[in-house]
């Protein structure tokens, strides 16, 4: 079956085995042209393996990878029009910054002078022109990062692969680089595939995210979809903070589920495909979608006692021991302090869910 020429990358039933160990269990996904796509998951989930398979450093045990419609799974790395920004940057230590950036262009057959001219332009783009004659070891981590980026972008790859490139930077620099990467992607119009284990980074930068775990894709969607409509327990737990409640489903209708807690307390929440009446599943609700009151205000009010208030700068997190369930976290933004109440530890209160905040999850 020929591939779609407008899709940047089409991974079809890709499997990766190392001996008896299966690192990737039949992954299929399509990455669109000009997309900022993120592979997100904990270490060992197979995200880097998938990236290295696209780059050509790992062979594909089964399946096919298409790049703008052409099968590339059998090509050696130097014949694939994709470039990689490595986690440790892998800048050539014996070459100047300029020669590093010019390397890919030269290998593609450009003359030395043409390659250097273009490399100079790339260094300008990442604002490092004044360091052209230096060696990589004379640059700071953030500067090396930008050189690695310029080097990978210089030959104008069809797809840029980024393997946790920001993980070695400190928080402030990382935030700045996240924005810079996003801008660079828009300016160049090149498809970016970004690998990270940092969910916040993924939410900030991506057009779409594939959440992976144990060699399988758990969910594929936009940052909003992934955060607000997690498909299963893993995604809800991995992305952001969440509260989980064990519930028994009584009835599902039009995407809404009526269910009850172990003690019989009834609840209504959003359902998800594949869950029917009688199922025993978890319901997830994000801490910022909860608020507290001293009297029950809605049907979805749960009785509890405040255990602790934790000040975290922009928010206050309140730990509440539910009468019928585990400990819940309620997050109150400081800007909401006017209309939401904070209670002292020990207070008997009700935790209320905003309408549509609760959501059932597949295990």
């Amino acid at each position: 079956m020929p591939g779609n020429r407008t899709d940047a990358i089409d991974v079809r039933d890709a499997v990766k085995r190392y001996g008896d160990f299966t690192a990737l269990k039949r992954i299929s996904l399509t990455i669109k042209d000009n997309e900022f796509f993120t592979l997100l998951g904990p270490s060992g989930c197979g995200k880097t393996t998938l990236l290295r398979m696209i780059a050509g450093f790992e062979d594909v045990t089964e399946g096919e990878i298409l790049l703008y419609g052409d099968g590339i799974a059998k090509l050696p790395p130097h014949q694939r029009p994709v470039n990689t920004v490595f986690q440790n940057y892998a800048l050539f230590p014996h070459m100047t910054i300029l020669d590093n950036v010019a390397f890919g262009l030269e290998m593609r057959g450009k003359s030395k002078s043409a390659a250097r001219k273009r490399a100079g332009e790339m260094l300008e783009l990442v604002q490092l022109s004044q360091f052209a004659a230096r060696k990589p070891s004379q640059l700071s981590g953030g500067q090396q990062q930008r050189v690695a980026l310029a080097r990978a972008l210089a030959p104008q790859p069809k797809v840029l692969l980024l393997d946790e490139p920001l993980s070695a930077l400190d928080l402030k620099l990382r935030k700045a680089m996240q924005l810079e990467l996003k801008h660079l992607q828009r300016e160049t119009g090149i498809t970016f595939i970004f690998v990270t284990h940092d969910q916040e980074e993924a939410l900030t930068m991506s057009d779409r995210i594939a959440v992976m775990s144990a060699g399988e894709m758990q969910q594929l969607g936009t940052p909003t979809e992934i955060y607000e409509q997690p498909r299963n327990m893993f995604v809800a737990d991995f992305i952001g903070e969440t509260n989980l409640l064990e519930v028994s489903v009584d009835q599902v209708m039009n995407g809404r589920a009526t269910c009850h807690l172990g003690g019989g307390h009834a609840l209504t929440c959003n359902s998800v495909e594949g869950i029917g009446a009688g199922a025993k599943v978890h319901m997830s609700v994000r801490p910022e979608r909860l608020f507290m009151s001293d009297v029950p205000v809605e049907a979805e009010s749960l009785k509890g006692r405040v255990a602790e208030n934790i000040f975290v700068g922009t928010d206050i997190s309140t730990l509440v021991d539910l009468a019928e369930g585990p400990q819940f976290i309620v997050r109150t933004s400081n800007s909401d302090r006017g209309n939401k109440r904070i209670f002292e530890p020990g207070s008997e209160i009700f935790v209320n869910m905003e309408l549509g905040a609760g959501r059932l999850l597949m295990d």
């Binding site: 780059a55 050509g56 050696p76 994709v82 892998a90 050539f92 230590p93 080097r151 990978a152 030959p155």
Partner: protein, 269 residues
């Protein structure tokens, strides 16, 4: 922090033991060097400063023998070091970059075992080998033997260096459209250069001053500097031997110095 002085300089007897070790190690070298400038015929009586024995090495009655021996030694050392460095570089590439292959541990053992085997055993074995295949002993047998026993010496610094080079450099090169060969010549070789030079220098020195193996496999009439010196000493030690020894010592010092600066100019740090 508790005030326990862990500085070994304050241990009792540290100074004495250090001095003793230094004297044992270096006194003979210092004395040989000093007495090589002695004007006297005797090797023990000091009769004033002179370069007479250095002149004797080049123009004296034994000068022809020493010149031939020095020529043999240096040409053999250069060729043996070159050949063994090339073989060791390829071996290191296979061992460090070849991934896991069967017999990898065995291969590593086979490469480094000659370092542990008593040299006399290697010497006898090499001699028996040459006899068995009917190789006439002479310059060529020395060269072949030197190439063989220099390989592990060249291999160690080269493979150590290579292990310190992450394979992401080559991957980055290939990712940037370099073929495997280009990645090797443009990236891996320059990064390995300090290791290769150290390996070469080590092999050169080891070949230059080898006595036991050379003495076994050399043919009649073919001498290297160590065997020529040994031959002379058998007829009594003359100060010209000290002059030669001092010159050999200088060559070694120069080599070690080069090796030191090469590793200091390490481009990956």
């Amino acid at each position: 922090m508790a005030h326990v002085n862990e500085n070994i300089k304050t241990y009792k007897g540290f100074r004495t033991i250090t001095l003793f070790c230094l004297v044992v190690l270096y006194a003979p070298l210092v004395i040989v060097t000093i007495y090589s400038f002695n004007a006297s015929q005797s090797i023990t009586n000091w009769e004033g400063l002179s370069l007479r024995w250095y002149a004797d090495v080049f123009t004296g009655p034994e000068s022809a023998k020493f010149k031939t021996a020095a020529f043999n030694s240096f040409t053999i050392a250069i060729m043996a070091a070159t050949a063994s460095t090339m073989i060791a570089t390829l071996a290191a590439t296979a061992m460090v970059r070849g991934g896991q292959f069967r017999l990898r541990t065995v291969s590593f053992g086979l490469i480094s075992l000659p370092l542990m085997v008593p040299e006399i055993v290697t010497a006898v074995a090499t001699l028996i080998f040459f006899n068995a295949i009917g190789f006439t002993r002479g310059y060529l047998t020395i060269l072949v033997a030197h190439i063989a026993f220099c390989i592990p010496f060249a291999y160690l610094p080269i493979s150590a260096r290579m292990q310190g080079i992450e394979d992401s450099f080559e991957q980055a090169a290939m990712d940037l459209y370099a073929t495997r060969r280009q990645a090797f010549t443009r990236i891996l070789m320059p990064l390995m250069a300090p290791g290769i030079i150290s390996g070469f220098l080590l092999a050169f020195i080891v070949s230059l001053d080898d006595f036991i193996i050379t003495n076994f496999v050399k043919g009649a009439g073919v001498e290297t500097l160590p065997t020529a010196i040994f031959g002379s000493v058998k007829q009594g030690i003359k100060p010209n031997i000290m002059a030669i020894s001092t010159m050999l010592l200088s060559v070694s010092i120069v080599m070690v110095t080069i090796s030191y600066f090469v590793s200091k100019s390490d481009s990956t740090k």
